[in-house]
């Protein structure tokens, strides 16, 4: 409603210009209709390509699990698809959230200082640095992840150096380990963390930091008491934009891990494309969606209060 009211207000303001040769009646009708007309293209698009497929997905998850692509699926309202799928793949769910969670923490540790530096300290290099953050996105996701396969390979320089430094054993490796998957996730989704944080920190009022400093706050205190709390909305947006796609990702686990590192995305991928078990794939998809939504909800409730500090 508030969006409609806002759109209506803006349109109303514009159409008050007296030079429009329209009668007051038709002007007010336009004013009333305009918000709906503006919503129409996007609404239509979302209905066709999001709402309808979502309903279809839920329907598919309730199909007869004994059907097949060749014989067709019958709608049998098989709710038992859910507990069965969950039971079979609960470890994959756990692993997905663990990897995505670890990657989110890493991304905050890497992304916050980066976003802060670009927003507050970069000066005229700001735009160039922002382009650098986004630049990897110009390459395909797949290619980027394959590049990491090379970087982390057993005879690559990273592993060589780590073995030299005795961080890794002589036969230790990175590729095909959980570490590689988490690193891959961190790398691939980092811009989703940095950009909202940057947008927030860029608006940070330097005068507030001066005031904090004037009121006996050391730079560290000024950060924890002023900068950090004020950047919380950006941090929340960044972690959500990062965590949600990371939790559903399957490319990183596929290319940088082994089946032991497979995440729920890999299971869904194989259910639809290899095993052709559509009801199970759909049930897992719905479960993933619900689980992520629930986590987001809890997270927002917590982050919305000051207790999170």
């Amino acid at each position: 409603m508030s969006v409609l009211a806002h759109v209506g207000g803006v349109v109303g303001g514009g159409s008050e210009a007296p030079q429009h040769p329209v009668t007051p009646a038709s002007a007010s009708r336009w004013r009333r209709l305009m918000p709906y007309l503006l919503l129409l293209p996007g609404g239509l698009w979302l209905t066709l390509f999001f709402a309808v497929p979502a309903v279809q997905l839920v329907a598919t998850s309730l199909y007869d699990p004994n059907g097949s692509l060749a014989t067709g699926y019958a709608m049998t309202w098989s709710w038992e698809n859910y507990p069965k799928a969950l039971q079979a793949y609960v470890t994959h769910f756990g692993r997905s959230f663990l990897y995505a969670g670890l990657a989110t923490v890493l991304a905050v540790l890497l992304g916050y200082p980066l976003a802060y530096a670009i927003a507050q300290k970069a000066g005229r290099w700001k735009n160039l640095l922002l382009v650098c953050v986004v630049a990897p996105m110009f390459t395909s996701f797949l290619v980027r992840t394959l590049a990491w396969k090379t970087i982390l390979s057993d005879n690559g320089w990273v592993v060589g150096l780590l073995r030299e430094l005795h961080v890794l054993d002589a036969d230790g490796r990175l590729l095909a380990t959980p570490v590689a998957v988490v690193l891959g996730l961190t790398y691939n989704f980092l811009p989703f963390m940095v950009l909202p944080l940057y947008a927030n920190l860029e608006r940070l009022d330097g005068r507030l930091l001066e005031a904090a400093s004037d009121l006996y706050a050391t730079p560290l205190r000024a950060f924890t008491k002023v900068t950090l709390p004020l950047s919380l909305p950006g941090l929340v947006a960044g972690t959500l934009l990062f965590f949600i796609p990371a939790a559903g990702d399957y490319i990183n686990a596929r290319l940088l891990g082994t089946p032991n590192e497979y995440m729920i995305g890999n299971v869904i991928d194989s259910a639809f494309l290899v095993r052709l078990d559509y009801p199970q794939g759909a049930a897992l998809s719905v479960l993933l969606m619900v689980a992520v939504l629930a986590m987001v909800f809890v997270y927002l409730r917590r982050a919305g209060t000051e207790e999170v500090l």
């Binding site: 005068r207 507030l208 004037d214």
Partner: protein
């Protein structure tokens, strides 16, 4: 009040350059402890930069900031016993009023935060606003929170950077009186930066008029107003009629000058400059109007002219009088006088007492008005 040894705030040869621009130019002044000091100047004159150097938010290019015997020039802002009320208030939007005011106390680990905050909020008359957010307060209330947030720390010096600039006129007047009351009550040195001359004069014990990074004049408000040191001060602090003149000699205690062919005299004690090119200055409210030169009281000096403009201001009427030399003089005539307002075009005589005039140094060749001087001695003179 403060735990640290008290003392005067002393700026010694303070200079700040931004690239090739000199914002503050070799400024030296001493602000006595417990005084209400105003730095007055137009925007860009360096007054805010001076304040920020005292706060530690700007590092001086040269010079020192001393507090008593202590050199605080290189201390970080959070190490100085100095607090600031910022022009934009800079209240923390994520904290409520209580936490905003408590901020400084918490950083220093002071006990009894709650009691002090409540006491301070009642000093600025904001009891009961503890749990509000800054955005829920009016401009005047935010201003008082900013004041409370700084004052609660009992600084040795409180810096106020145009703190009333964002308030409407009536609230501003009210806050001026309020600030003065609080300053008297707490006895802390206040350094107030403003471009509003009336504000500076109302509140401060001592006013420093700044121009182009330097102090033009420093003194009590009445002192500066009655006897300005330069043409800049004469026109920045109130208005002045300045006539270009040349000193012609001395007669007893009086300095004789000639302006546009007419002769005037000014007591030597009212002359900043005794020779060469000068400005003969007189404040518009010290000037009287008469219908003809016959009505000019004894001892007054006069100039004949024509009323070209009149604006009714309530307590007074402001006239512009064009003298026969083509110079316009401004006259404030109190409306308490009998007789109606003078019409535009009326022939009048402008007159004043010599002891109300003052002489200021003038760079040779610099004239207030390019109008040529005509030799008509009968249009001006000294009534003896």
């Amino acid at each position: 009040m403060s735990n640290a040894p008290a003392g005067d705030l002393c700026l010694a040869n303070l200079t700040k350059r931004f690239g090739s621009f000199t914002a503050v130019d070799d400024l030296s002044l001493t602000i006595p402890q417990g005084s209400f000091f105003a730095l007055l100047g137009a925007s860009g004159c360096g007054k805010t930069t001076t304040l920020r150097m005292v706060a530690g938010l700007e590092e001086p290019t040269a010079g020192q900031v001393l507090l008593g015997d202590r050199d605080i020039t290189r201390l970080r802002p959070y190490q100085r016993p100095v607090n600031t009320v910022f022009q934009s208030y800079a209240l923390f939007p994520h904290l409520d009023i209580f936490e905003n005011v408590a901020f400084g106390l918490r950083r220093r680990g002071v006990r009894d935060v709650a009691g002090q905050v409540r006491q301070m909020l009642s000093l600025v008359q904001l009891d009961g606003f503890e749990r509000r957010r800054p955005a829920q307060l009016s401009g005047g209330q935010q201003q008082r929170v900013a004041l409370a947030r700084a004052l609660i720390n009992r600084p040795q010096v409180l810096l106020l950077d145009e703190p009333l600039g964002a308030l409407d006129l009536k609230l501003r007047r009210q806050m001026q009186i309020e600030l003065k009351r609080i300053q008297t009550e707490v006895g802390i040195t206040f350094v107030h930066v403003t471009h509003d001359q009336e504000e500076a004069m109302t509140m401060a014990d001592t006013v420093a008029v700044m121009n182009a990074g330097r102090i033009e004049q420093l003194g009590a408000p009445a002192e500066i107003y009655e006897f300005p040191a330069s043409a800049f001060v004469a026109n920045f602090l109130g208005q002045s009629n300045l006539l270009s003149a040349e000193v012609t000699g001395k007669s007893g205690e009086d300095v004789l000058v000639e302006a546009y062919g007419a002769r005037f005299c000014v007591p030597a004690s009212r002359a900043r400059c005794m020779q060469g090119s000068v400005y003969l200055g007189v404040r518009p409210e010290k000037v009287r109007l008469a219908a003809s030169s016959d009505e000019v009281p004894g001892g007054h000096q006069w100039v004949a002219g024509v009323v070209t403009d009149s604006s009714y201001l309530g307590v007074s009427t402001q006239y512009l009088v064009r003298t026969s030399w083509g110079i316009e003089m401004s006259v404030f005539a109190p409306n308490s006088q009998a007789g109606g307002p003078l019409p535009v075009g009326a022939d009048v005589v402008v007159h004043w007492l010599p002891e109300h005039a003052f002489l200021l140094a003038r760079e040779r060749g610099k004239e207030e008005s390019p109008a040529p001087a005509r030799d008509r001695v009968d249009t001006a003179g000294v009534v003896s």
